[in-house]
Amino acid sequence: MKEWLDGVIAGSALLQGAPREITYFLAMVFFSLLAVGWMAILALSFVWMERKISARIQSRLGPVYCGGKFGWAQTVADALKLLMKEDLIPRSADRLLFTVAPVIVFLSTLLTFAAIPFGDNLIIANLDIGIFFILAISSLAVIGIIMGGWASNNKWSLYGGMRAASQMISYEIPVALSLIGVIMYSGSLNLLEIGRAQAGGFWHWNLFRSPFLFLGGFVYFTAAIAEANRTPFDLPEAESELVSGFNTEYSGMKFALFFLAEFANLFVISAIASVMFLGAWHSFLPWQILPGPIWFLMKAFSLVVVIMWMRWTLPRLRVDQLMQVCWKYLIPISLVLLVGLGTQMWVFSGR
């Protein structure tokens, strides 16, 4: 990023005259606004997709009027409504924490966008520890969620926050363990290198290179859905039990931030799954027919559709079942898969 920016500055007479620091600062502001805009567009289109998919699964039509065809402007109208709503803070709430909580949740999701490669070299920050960065930053969201639950001063919000904390911390482990398999196999934490190693047809994708990685992909997908608090693991906001969980007391823009982060998270977990297991920006054939970013977005979007499909199919788990799935099934299985992968690599590649 910095090298590219230096190249642009060297090429332009106008920018060469300006002080370096100001140019860097303006570029940072521009690209972070770009990321926020991209995230908002993603979240709005996912909400629309979710409404359409749920409607079709339930033999309904979903939004049809707003914006002319297919109700495409429905979520835009909803977002405008949320922006104009009164921003309520309950009298007995902790004002500071109540305000900070949605910002933390939003930021933790936004920051992960910095390390997601949308194509070869199309990445905001090419970090050597990209996947580690994403895992570390996205677990910060749990602080914001528990903060929101606590600051609301409401039993059900607090329950939602506590559930979110226990769930997200538990499911971090299988997520990380299943990703470690890919990291071992590729020998790198850099997302660009992991992506480049999967070039040349779908049999080069990590998912199909080893039976252990194939199963690991499923473990990752399940655990990531749980970490993003999606149905069937949506206990933190279980509507029938906790009203709406940690975001019950939120309205207006603060609620919109939670909502935006939740749906952007969908994209983040699908993007990581497609980079780590599904060949990143490479086509499923040895030759690249379409540009890389289009392949990447197609993969990520189809995974998002699968997650939504699962949401409208499976019922919610009980709390004890949730913990059971994580500690008794996903973690042992992913550990066994790691050992298996290590054995395979030792036997076949001698590493």
């Binding site: 998919i53 409607a55 079709r56 699964i57 033999s59 309904r60 039509l61 699962m310 199919t313």
Partner: protein, 173 residues
């Protein structure tokens, strides 16, 4: 079943049942939606649908059968005998022997049972297929069917009768 076998059969069952469910919803997603976009599209109503009442007043003979049949007394009729030379005919050939200065139906009271239409001898009182009964003013649910001609005739007759009653008996001698 041993503990290990149960562990793996549980994993298998969790995955298998999830895929069965996904199959059901996936297939359903590609069926035709059952939604009918109501104001734009409408149902085809059955022939004997009972909607709002309507009276073809030119065929009404003022027999009062409907008012008597009505269980909630929402039909209000006034009749007045016609003279011989004023008799009319309905479209099915029945003699009309009454002026009908008032034929009102209070749809706010009506329970849409259809008994009045069954007793109507000339089939002039019918139930339409109109089902959008909501109005902004309750008075608009009060339907009046009497024609101006009948009202006028009865008014004239009453005036004649009054004039006859008010005239001094001396002139008659």
């Amino acid at each position: 079943m041993g503990a290990v076998a149960k562990y793996f059969s549980d994993v298998y069952r969790a995955l298998a049942t999830a895929f069965v469910g996904l199959g059901v919803t996936g297939r359903n997603a590609f069926t035709k939606p059952t939604t009918l976009e109501y104001p734009d599209q409408r149902w085809t109503l059955p022939d004997r649908y009972r909607g709002i009442l309507h009276n073809r007043i030119e065929d009404c003979i003022g027999c009062l059968a409907c008012a008597r049949a009505c269980p909630v007394d929402c039909i209000h009729i006034e009749i007045s005998k016609r003279d011989k030379e004023e008799y009319g005919l309905t479209s099915d050939g029945t003699k009309i022997t009454q002026w009908i200065p008032r034929f009102d139906i209070d749809m706010a009271l009506c329970m849409v049972c259809g008994l009045c239409t069954e007793v109507c001898p000339t089939c002039c009182l019918t139930m339409t297929k109109e089902y959008e009964l909501a109005v902004t003013d309750k008075r608009r649910m009060y339907l009046e069917f009497a024609t101006e001609r009948d009202k006028e005739m009865v008014r004239k007759k009453m005036a004649e009768k009054e004039a006859a009653a008010a005239a001094p008996p001396a002139t008659q001698e």
